[in-house]
Symmetry: C2
Subunit: 370 residues, 2 copies
């Protein structure tokens, strides 16, 4: 199956990290005090299930992988109370006190400016200052996106860092870039999305020479809005991008491309409609099965098989969405994240580091590849 | 259930048409030779199943409704060979010979200009010249959209005629405006879409005071791309539009608004992703049920109930999508239309006429309502 995540192999924690890590990572290790770890700051207060599920996920991550150290950023007493419930290697978890919490409804810009002692601002500063390699949050998407750009900062040459979630398809998963907060992108932004997305799919997800498609309102080259029409020839001219042309929204779920490039407004519509149509259809199928005695019996019999199928189409199983093109790694997970998603996302940070994704992006954007 | 189509009641053919029809319709009747009919030109050559299913659908429509006359436009010998298979009231069907066919892959503008004797061009001219009240086609969407505007023409004051399909939701159906070919709309276009869509939902679908939402990348008022931000206050200021604010794509399938307003590129993504996610999920559910003997038995038991449920979520059952704001009625049905969809779409034309939708749109756009 295409799109099988590397993180499934990471779980075993067997790979010799020292042989695999890239330049940026090695440099960081030599200056850090705990040279052997990939260090991940985790927003212990973010999302619907914080701090309970977040702390549980962090514990499960360090139990699975000895090369990771997690910094749980949040209200110290609450985080420690949760931590006390588990057995885990103590030197792999540290609590960093943050007295404020950014709520979902707050204005992202005002919150990032005003709440200096929030878990999001503090966690992002740990990445900025090189104390951590990555920051993971299930909190306010807007605050993470704004904070990622303002505090961690864009890598040199990156015009706009896109949020790039994996979405399920019949063939595995595709990367949807951009689903971020900055709408009305320019053609050159979209070309960078394609380039950064290709690197992620190739080196984190393991798809060789990933197929890049641009979301369009028709398959023909003359179709498109002004943005797509201007971007199409630019993508076609990139020797380092495996551009397959236009992808109609109809063909996204069947896996028509590995990297789906679009402007953030459209990306948001795609991501949320995926959830919406999927959720509605599943509710309707379940309700439909309850309409007669005959179908109720049938429902009992198909339940295990159906559960397995629907799990493969559950957006949340794909872990967090990275904000690509920053100076450090920032990953946003679903607000409804449970421990398993937090655990997988933390482990994903290891692959990101091992594969030196930031180094590769930097090299590709600065034009030294292609 | 909200969104129950009037056409289900039309089937009985009981309503006294003369009492219900509006000004435009009456005027046309007095000049026409067959004053008692609503006259519908049907593209007999359009779509994957032409002419067989198209002719069958036309026959079923006149069998169901004595106030309709259908003009089957297409290759005379082929259409007559199909017609010969059925018993039907002969005075309600007429064949109009058209020697050319516009293929799906042709450039719409070139085809409309070049193929003067095609079923699409000829059918549209019948509306333009007042010989017919409506034109129905399952052929090239592009050609129908271009031809509708060029041949039939926009109603006075209408800036851009949107294509407005009904999409299924948990509560019934919502109208998605615009899914047409003209992308990159202006704020004033979107306000007209909202107004025309409201009239359609209220008078054709029967939703009193329909809720109008604008597709946005967040529920908050400050969210949106440049187009949405500029359109939001305009919609808010319209006393004749029941504007409920932003609708996230996630909430469209649960029926968050009756009229979903968006620019055509976004509308195309929504419509096609609806199909794509729905189709993929249903294939996966079916495949999932075939994985064990237990689930296979279960599948047999739930089959009838599931079929009924999935039918409610099938885009094709909702008949054709009108191109709103033209001087006459032009309706595009799915390329894969079977007889039932053609029949329902032809009957839909009756409601459109009965309710004088064009007259109401003209009145609303010219500002005499509000």
């Amino acid at each position: 199956m295409r799109g099988r995540l590397h993180l499934r192999t990471i779980r075993k924690g067997e790979r010799p990290l020292s042989e695999k890590c890239g330049g940026m990572l090695r440099k960081k290790r030599m200056t850090g005090s705990m040279a052997e770890y990939v260090k991940v700051a985790v927003d212990a207060m973010g999302g619907d299930n914080a701090p309970g599920e977040i702390v549980k996920g962090a514990v499960e991550a360090v139990q699975a992988e000895k090369n990771i150290k997690v910094y749980l950023v949040g209200k110290q007493d609450q985080v420690e109370a949760e931590l006390a419930k588990y057995e885990y290697p103590k030197d792999q978890v540290e609590v960093v006190n943050a007295t404020e919490v950014i709520a979902m409804a707050e204005s992202p810009v005002a919150a990032i400016k005003g709440k200096k002692d929030s878990s999001i601002v503090k966690g992002l500063y740990m990445v900025r200052e090189g104390k951590c390699d990555a920051f993971v949050s299930a909190g306010s998407t807007g605050a993470v996106l704004v904070g990622g750009q303002v505090i961690v900062g864009r890598a040199k040459g990156v015009e706009r860092p896109p949020l790039a979630p994996l979405i399920p398809t019949e063939k595995g998963a595709s990367l949807l870039v951009d689903c971020g907060a900055n709408v009305d992108a320019k053609p050159s932004n979209l070309v960078q999305f394609a380039r950064m997305g290709s690197i992620y799919m190739e080196h984190v997800v393991g798809i060789k020479n990933p197929r890049v498609g641009i979301v369009n309102n028709g398959a023909e080259e003359e179709k498109g809005n002004a943005l797509v029409k201007a971007t199409f020839p630019l993508l076609k001219a990139c020797p380092d991008i495996n551009f397959i042309g236009s992808v109609e929204a109809r063909d996204i779920p069947s896996g028509a491309a590995d990297v789906i490039v679009c402007e953030a407004f459209v990306g948001n519509v795609i991501l949320k409609l995926y959830e919406g149509v999927g959720g509605t259809l599943i509710r309707m199928v379940k309700a439909g099965m309850m309409t007669s005695t005959r179908s109720k019996v049938g429902a009992l019999l198909i339940k295990p098989a159906l559960k397995e199928t629907l799990k493969a189409f559950d957006l949340e199983q794909y872990g967090g969405a990275p904000l690509l093109g920053l100076k450090g790694l920032v990953v946003k997970t679903h607000g409804s994240s449970k421990a398993i998603e937090i655990r997988n996302t933390i482990l994903q940070c290891l692959t990101f580091r091992e594969q030196d994704i930031n180094g590769k992006i930097q090299k590709a954007i600065s034009g030294s590849v292609g």
